[in-house]
């Protein structure tokens, strides 16, 4: 009997992506949260709002990433009130980095901060384990990201349009879902630009099928009652 280990801490296996385009950023994530081998939440939302114009993608331990983003949201709220104008993406990333670095022994979470502000435009900052902060034109994270390094080297280009960037993100997350057991569910994207924030949702069974993937079956009864495969004609 497979040991499901339901007492394991909640972790998000995850694939998270952040991509800049000409005019803003697109963030994307899958939606699987696992406890050991059991999927605790198949429709979780890993893209969390920090301010009106800054979002963060969470990966790693669910509890740690939720607490970090809650604290940073609180700090940014106060900062916005004191500053009198929206917080910049750089400040948000820096606050997350402060918490991640100073508590590096206790936390196990990798984050991607993305947003738009009027000074720098669309920016993506990656904050992996350990608490380093790196400003990048695109960032990938989570267990599913291992399968995407080569894909992004080939597919990413500068100055994409909004539609191109979102299609790239959806394609990348669905490729990672196909190969990574700890990623799955639906694809959620967040587009942030000068006009505001748009959230999109792509259900799992509507994603493109890749090499050797089968059509999703809604019921085992359909499989049993379906006709068998046709014999090959020689």
């Amino acid at each position: 009997m497979m040991d499901l280990n339901l007492d394991a801490p909640h972790s998000m296996g995850t694939t998270i992506i952040g991509v800049t385009y000409n005019g803003g950023v697109v963030l994307g994530a899958d939606s699987r949260t696992s406890t050991g081998m059991y999927v605790a939440n198949r429709a979780s939302d890993k893209t969390t709002q920090l301010t009106d114009n800054v979002y963060v993608c969470r990966s790693g331990s669910a509890a740690d990433s939720q607490v970090v983003s809650d604290y940073v949201r609180y700090f940014l709220h106060q900062h916005t009130i004191q500053l009198g104008q929206p917080a910049t993406v750089k400040v948000s990333a820096n606050l997350i980095r402060m918490l991640a670095y100073n508590n590096k022994n206790m936390l196990q979470t990798g984050l991607i901060v993305g947003g738009w502000d009027k000074y720098e435009g669309g920016k993506i900052y990656g904050i992996p384990l350990g608490g380093t902060v790196v400003e990048q034109p695109f960032a990938i994270g989570g267990s599913g990201s291992s399968y995407l390094y080569g894909f992004f080297d080939q597919a990413w280009k500068e100055n994409m349009t909004k539609e191109e960037a979102e299609q790239l993100v959806v394609k990348a997350v669905s490729l990672a879902i196909a190969r990574d057991g700890a990623s799955g569910g639906v694809v959620r994207t967040v587009i942030i630009n000068s006009e505001g924030v748009t959230r999109n949702f792509y259900p799992g069974d509507k994603l493109q099928l890749w090499h050797e993937e089968l059509e999703p079956q809604n019921s085992l009864l359909d499989i049993l009652n379906a006709a068998g495969p046709e014999p090959m004609a020689i």
Binding site: D7, H10, N41, A63, Q78
Partner: protein, 335 residues
């Protein structure tokens, strides 16, 4: 100075003192009180602080070493277990707990078996705990932990149900589910998973019906239907097959009962009866032992009787509480 004095009956508090009290309830993090500027963090003087906000600058106030959980005994326990000592088993609720959102609100369900290792310690325990008149919480995991974290512990003001009540008094409003969620989440995270309480929190507040799951490490999920405990897989299979949005009250209760029964009959850690709690706007119904699918089948009709009768030699009754007479003496108290 008089402008700042708020007259609360016979006790005069300054407005700042009231804000101090209110903020102490909402932000147990003492950092907030000692450093009004959130970007100037205190120098931590003890390494046992769970969260370190950095050594940016002195705030001018030397904060003494705060409490926080000391993990020394946990390390000692691990060392003893490695050496071969068998840890004493504690009362666990093997459990199947579920919650779902229906058309008018939230329905929570739970089984009623509490186990101590392989033995059933309590055949009819209550796993659906009261948090607020409009919020209930099912608990799985160590029974003591779920009782303590949700309950009204008179000696320890830290417990969430009492914190919520104080918050209601201070704000004058009904509690919101998200408040209970944040308090529970903070508490469980600060104990880093050692408080083994997995909770399904549900309620209806001014913003609508809400259902959340909280894991022992402090992570939360917001879902339309949820299951937790050892029987969660059995119950989730029922929900995944039959749940749809906009269920009526009867359909919802039937589905919850079916999910709990699935846990009761297919999971060894769950059993006995089904408890259900239906919460709607302004109204709640706690259906204790809604279903009893495991009655005792063979019960002797004669009942129990002892063979040798005990003789009563003497009867003496001593009242433990004296009757107290109160007489009004002196003048009435002045404002």
């Amino acid at each position: 100075m008089d402008l700042l004095k708020v007259n609360w009956g016979r006790r005069k508090h300054s407005l700042f003192y009231y804000l101090f009290l209110a903020s102490k309830q909402l932000f147990p993090l003492d950092l907030y009180l000692f450093s009004p500027n959130p970007f100037r963090f205190d120098q931590p003087s003890s390494s046992s602080r769970l969260f370190d906000f950095g050594r940016m600058s002195q705030a001018g106030v030397d904060v003494p070493a705060k409490g926080g959980f000391s993990f020394d005994l946990c390390k000692r326990n691990d060392m003893l277990i490695q050496k071969g000592l068998k840890a004493p088993s504690f009362l666990k609720t093997g459990t199947t707990i579920v919650g779902l959102i229906f058309k008018d609100g939230v329905i929570l369900g739970a089984d009623t078996r509490a186990t101590e290792g392989p033995i059933v310690a309590d055949k009819n325990c209550e796993k659906i705990h009261y948090m607020a008149p409009n919020i209930y919480c099912c608990g799985a995991g160590t029974a003591a932990d779920t009782e303590a974290v949700t309950g009204i512990f008179l000696s320890n003001i830290d417990m969430v149900s009492s914190q919520l009540r104080l918050h209601r008094y201070q704000t004058g409003r009904d509690s919101r589910v998200i408040t209970a969620l944040t308090l529970l989440k903070k508490h469980l995270f600060s104990y880093q998973g050692h408080v083994s309480a997995a909770l399904v929190l549900g309620g209806v507040d001014i913003t609508g019906p809400h259902l959340h799951t909280i894991y022992p490490h402090g992570s939360t999920d917001t879902l339309p239907f949820a299951t937790m405990g050892s029987g969660s897989l059995a119950a989730m299979s029922v929900f995944e097959a039959k749940y749809k949005e906009g269920l009526t009250r009867d359909e919802g209760i039937k589905l919850v009962a079916e999910a709990i029964c699935s846990g009761i009959f297919n999971d060894l850690g769950s059993g006995s009866n089904v408890d259900i709690c239906v919460i709607t706007k302004g109204h709640k119904e706690y259906l204790r032992n809604y279903m009893e699918p495991n009655p005792r089948t063979y019960v002797s009709s004669k009942g129990y009787s002892f063979t040798k009768k005990t003789e009563v030699l003497r009867t003496k009754i001593t009242p433990l509480m004296e009757r107290v007479e109160i007489t009004e003496v002196g003048e009435a108290m002045e404002e």
